[in-house]
Structures are given as structure tokens and as C-alpha cells.
């Protein structure tokens, strides 16, 4: 992408570029299953993520910069997801919406489900729930935008370890003794 991802930009330039990027995230709807309905509900009048700048009319992956994977990813569908992700130009972000795309969800023991979209694409925000409320998606988008506001693209591309945002906070040690 030229010089933007190779040097540490001065703060005012970084501020303006990040501001432009975070408020115009065009989303590629990768709605697969039930979570897709909550994704559409999040874009309609009551919850409305369009007011945050996230417009769901990317005509194809090449015009999008945010991918929202909503729903169960099966092994048959995984190559298509990989191809769509690779078609998106940098800088791009990914939100994993719903329990199935986070970790396989209620189908954890199925023979044909990919247990977690992060095996295929690098995820920036995890939104847990089955299905998550549209408000949870709005929170995920806002936290993503806060992250974009502070980031430097050089660091993003050079970083080895990805620190994902989990809406609702990370899950601590879980007591599985069934009370």
C-alpha cells in the first residue's frame, strides 16, 4: 500500500487516516446461518449499524473492508470463505459473529463443521452468543472502531501475535464440575 504501512506516520496524519477508515467500513455480509438473520436485524431500522458508517452494500469482496462471518462454517464452505477473504484488499478486518463461527458452537461434535472461523481467517473481534443480540454486534463494531482509531498500520502488518477483542470480556477459567 505504498508508504502508509512502512513508516511510522506522524500523529495528525495517522489520526486523519484512521478516522476516515473507521467511519467508512463497508461490510461484506458473509451471513451463513441463523446469525445472518440477526445481522440483517442489526442493519434495519431499530438497531441500525448503518449509522456507524458500516454500510452493508459492498457489491463484492473487492469493495469491502470488513468481513462479518455470521453462522456455522462447514468444511464444504471453508474454501469459499478463504477465497472471499483473499479477494478483499488490505487493510481489512474480520468480525466473527456468533458462537458457531467463534468456536463451532452448539455443533462442537459434528463431523462437518469447522470449529471456529479463526482456523481460516484471522479474526479481530469475537461476538459470542447464540445468536448474539444485535446490540452485541453494535458493541463489537464500536470497539473495533476504537481499536482502529489507535492503530498504526505498520504495527498491524508486522505484528506476530494478534490480540482479538472479545465482546463481553474474555472468559476466565471455567468451572466444569456441573455445580
Amino acid at each position: 500500500m505504498g508508504v502508509v504501512d512502512k513508516v511510522n506516520l506522524p500523529q495528525p496524519v495517522k489520526f486523519v487516516l484512521n478516522w476516515g477508515r473507521k467511519y467508512s467500513l463497508w461490510v461484506m455480509n458473509f451471513g451463513l446461518a441463523c446469525c445472518a438473520i440477526e445481522l440483517i436485524a442489526a442493519s434495519t431500522s431499530r438497531h441500525d449499524f448503518i449509522r456507524l458508517g458500516v454500510i452493508p452494500v459492498a457489491h463484492g469482496p473487492r469493495q469491502a473492508d470488513l468481513l462479518v462471518v455470521a453462522g456455522t462454517l462447514t468444511d464444504k464452505m471453508a474454501p469459499a470463505l478463504k477465497r472471499v477473504w483473499e479477494q478483499m484488499p488490505e487493510p481489512k478486518y474480520c468480525i466473527s459473529f456468533g458462537s458457531c463461527s467463534n468456536c463451532g458452537g452448539p455443533f462442537w461434535d459434528s463431523y462437518s463443521v469447522t470449529k471456529g472461523v479463526d482456523q481460516i481467517v484471522p479474526v479481530d473481534v469475537y461476538v459470542p452468543g447464540c445468536p448474539p443480540r444485535p446490540e452485541a454486534l453494535l458493541e463489537g463494531i464500536i470497539r473495533l472502531q476504537t481499536m482502529i482509531a489507535d492503530e498504526s498500520l505498520k504495527e498491524r502488518f508486522e505484528r506476530q501475535h494478534r490480540e482479538a477483542i472479545i465482546v463481553g470480556g474474555p472468559v476466565g477459567p471455567v468451572d466444569l464440575s456441573n455445580r
Binding site: 431499530r46 462447514t74 445468536p131
Partner: protein
């Protein structure tokens, strides 16, 4: 234009063509069949904004005419039937409301009705009436979604916003009772999870009036719309006998002219105590399928009002239900008229707390198998209007 209808005639009317006056371009209009065209295979891939989810169509095209269409399904196959064999009956209720995700209550209903019949459990009256009411609310939810999304596929942006406006209110109502916006898990073997909250009946009565009043918007925007009619009337005709052969049920079968509705032919719950009509279409084309949806919403609202009047008080689950559900050995096929068609469960039990086999008969699987028949001879622009009118949910197709 002069000479257009003949074959191989030069058009030389100078007032209509570029060039100096008196000169014209000689156009040779070929007779049909004179040029050989090759067939092209077009793949409408699994990720496409106009298919309802991940359905892939492989079309063999001759120009713009579809010679053959093959739906490639399985992109949402999660293995429900295998997973049901290792879960006990209480867990399966939570599992099955995820295959037709737009009408989750109806999915659970088919399953619990089957297990209750196997175990010969007497479900209390109040639970049956509440189940009837919630099943009909769920049907309204499902049909509103399809009315909105069909409009969106044909290019109308407004109906989907209106549909979701109604859906949000109804989902709020169902969330007050069941705790979930989409996957309710409200049924239990023998009855329901808990009783309705206070204020539910009042809110439900108010919503019936609101939805009925707003349904007139859809009539004006879509049913009476000339563009909509031009795009859907006469497109995708499906005769009744062919629909039966393929196993189609639900609104598609009713639009094809056959009044087959499990609520009338084999009444379950309290459908024999309420009066409603089954709308039957005349032509079996896309417009009729859409019209049947619209009428079904009206009939469902009628049923909900009747349930409001007749709801008795009482318990909602029999007192002595065991915690471990172990139906006796045997098999049963239980079906419910879900919003998209007949959702049935063939349950084989060997006396354990997990079933031996659960076969899920889903309506969309049979409806999608009919797509090649419908699409032969259809032009590509009509593909969207035909595909959108065959109402299916991909989770239902693939399970």
C-alpha cells in the same frame, strides 16, 4: 422496422440508420436456428447476495435460457441426525430449533409431539393452547421475513425494513415469554418451560391489531404493484401433481392448488378447536406463492385472536414428569405444519435416554429438489424471481 420479420433482408431505410442519406447499413437478420450457439455453464456460487444463504446453483445456459439447473447443497450440513443420536431428548429440543432458524418453535413442536405420543403423556390444556398461539406467532414471523426478502430480491428496498419493524416487535413479545429472540427452546417434553409472564396477553392482543393494520402496507407495496406483478405472474408455474411427487408441502403446495395442510387434515394441538381457512392458489406461479404467504399471515392472526379468547388456566406441565426422559421402545413419525411446510421427525427409540435414530424430514429439502423442474426453460432474469419464491431456509435443506 421494415424488413425485420423477414430472413436475410437488408434494412435500408435511411431515416433510421446512421450514414449518409441514401446509404444504409445492410443488416442480415438470421432466421432462428441458423447460428449454432454453445452452452455455457454458469455457477451461482455459495456466497451470493440473492440466494437465501449458501445454496449453489450450477446452470447450463443457452444464451439467457436455462437448459438445466442443478442445486448443489450441503454447504450448511452440520450433521443434525448424527448429533441427535448422542444427545438426550432434552438436549435435542435445543438442537432442532436450529435447522429452520426462522420458525424455531415449530421445529421443537414436531419433536416433542412425537416423544409425547411415544410416551403417552397427557399434555395439559393450557400448554396446548399456548403452544398453538406461539406456533402461530412464529408462523407470522417467518412469513414476514420471506415477504420482506422476496421484495428485496426483486429490487424493492422498503418491504424488508417494514418486515423487520414488525418482526422486532413480535420478537420482543416472544422474548418476554421464552427468553430468546430466535431460538426459543421453550417446549419441554410434556408441556412448556414456564408459564407466560404477566401482561403477555394484553401485549399480544395489541400486536395482533398492529400487525393486521400494517399488513395493508405490503398489499399496497407489493401485491398490487404492477412491476411486481409483471415479474411474478405466470413465472415458475408448478402443477399440483408434480409438487406432490417431489414431496413439496406448505405454502408452495397450497399455491399449486392442493389444500394440504396438516393443521386441517391431521389436527394436532388445538387446531381442531379454532376456525381458520387454508388459502389455495390458482395458478401455482410465483405470485400465487407470495399471495398464499400473505393470506396465511392473516389466518394466523385470526387463530391467535381465538386463542386469546379461549385460553384456560391451569398447569403447563404434568406434575410427575421424570427428569430422565426414556420413551419405550418403538418408532413414530410425528409431523407438524411448520411455516415452510411439513416438518416431521421419525424417531426410533430403544428405551434409552438418547434416541436410536432421529430422521428429520424437513420441508425445504423437498422444495429445493423441485428447483430443476421449475427452472428449465426460464430466462436468467426470471431466475431470481423463481428462486426467491420457492421459500426455503438453507439450514432446513442441509440439516
Amino acid at each position: 422496422m421494415a424488413g425485420r420479420e423477414g430472413a436475410g433482408v437488408a434494412v435500408t431505410d435511411p431515416t433510421m440508420l446512421p450514414g449518409a442519406p441514401g446509404e444504409g447499413i445492410a443488416i442480415d437478420v438470421a432466421e432462428p436456428g441458423r447460428f449454432a450457439t454453445e452452452e455455457m455453464i454458469l455457477n451461482i456460487g455459495p456466497q451470493h447476495p440473492s440466494t437465501h444463504g449458501v445454496l449453489r446453483m450450477v446452470l447450463t445456459l443457452d444464451g439467457e435460457l436455462i437448459r438445466d439447473a442443478e442445486p448443489v447443497i450441503g454447504y450448511m450440513h452440520r450433521g443434525f441426525e448424527k448429533m441427535a443420536e448422542v444427545r438426550d431428548y432434552r438436549q435435542i429440543i435445543a438442537l432442532v430449533n436450529r435447522h429452520d432458524w426462522l420458525s424455531a418453535f415449530g421445529n421443537e413442536l414436531g419433536l416433542v409431539l412425537g416423544v409425547e405420543a411415544l410416551m403417552e403423556v397427557e399434555v395439559p390444556e393450557r400448554a396446548q393452547w399456548i403452544r398453538t398461539m406461539l406456533a402461530e406467532w412464529n408462523r407470522v414471523l417467518n412469513h414476514l421475513m420471506f415477504m420482506g426478502s422476496y421484495g428485496l430480491e426483486l429490487g424493492a428496498m422498503t418491504p424488508i425494513f417494514l418486515a423487520f419493524r414488525e418482526r422486532e416487535e413480535i420478537q420482543g413479545l416472544l422474548e418476554a415469554a421464552t427468553g430468546g429472540r430466535m431460538h426459543f427452546t421453550y417446549n419441554r417434553i410434556g408441556g412448556l418451560k414456564e408459564d407466560l409472564p404477566r401482561g403477555f396477553m394484553k401485549e399480544s392482543a395489541r400486536l395482533v391489531k398492529v400487525v393486521r393494520h400494517r399488513l395493508a402496507d405490503y398489499e399496497g407495496l407489493l401485491l398490487g404493484n404492477e412491476i411486481f406483478k409483471k415479474r411474478t405472474v405466470g413465472i415458475g408455474k408448478l402443477p399440483g401433481s408434480v409438487a406432490l411427487e417431489y414431496g413439496c408441502t406448505g405454502p408452495i403446495l397450497q399455491a399449486a392448488g392442493i389444500a394440504e395442510d396438516s393443521r386441517k387434515t391431521e389436527p394436532y394441538l388445538k387446531y381442531s378447536d379454532v376456525s381458520f381457512e387454508v388459502p389455495v392458489g390458482e395458478n401455482g406461479d410465483s405470485f400465487d406463492r407470495f399471495w398464499v404467504l400473505y393470506r396465511r399471515i392473516q389466518e394466523s392472526l385470526k387463530i391467535i385472536e381465538q386463542v386469546h379468547d379461549k385460553l384456560p388456566s391451569g398447569p403447563i406441565i404434568p406434575g410427575k414428569m421424570p427428569k430422565n426422559i426414556k420413551p419405550p421402545e418403538g418408532w413414530i413419525y410425528s409431523r407438524a405444519e411448520n411455516s415452510l411446510g411439513e416438518t416431521g421427525y421419525y424417531i426410533v427409540s430403544r428405551g434409552g435416554k438418547e434416541p436410536w435414530r432421529v430422521k428429520m424430514r424437513t420441508p425445504s429439502f423437498s422444495n429445493v429438489s423441485m428447483i430443476p423442474y421449475l427452472l428449465r426453460g426460464v430466462l436468467v432474469p426470471d431466475l431470481i424471481s423463481v428462486l426467491g419464491s420457492v421459500f426455503f431456509v438453507v439450514g432446513d435443506v442441509d440439516r
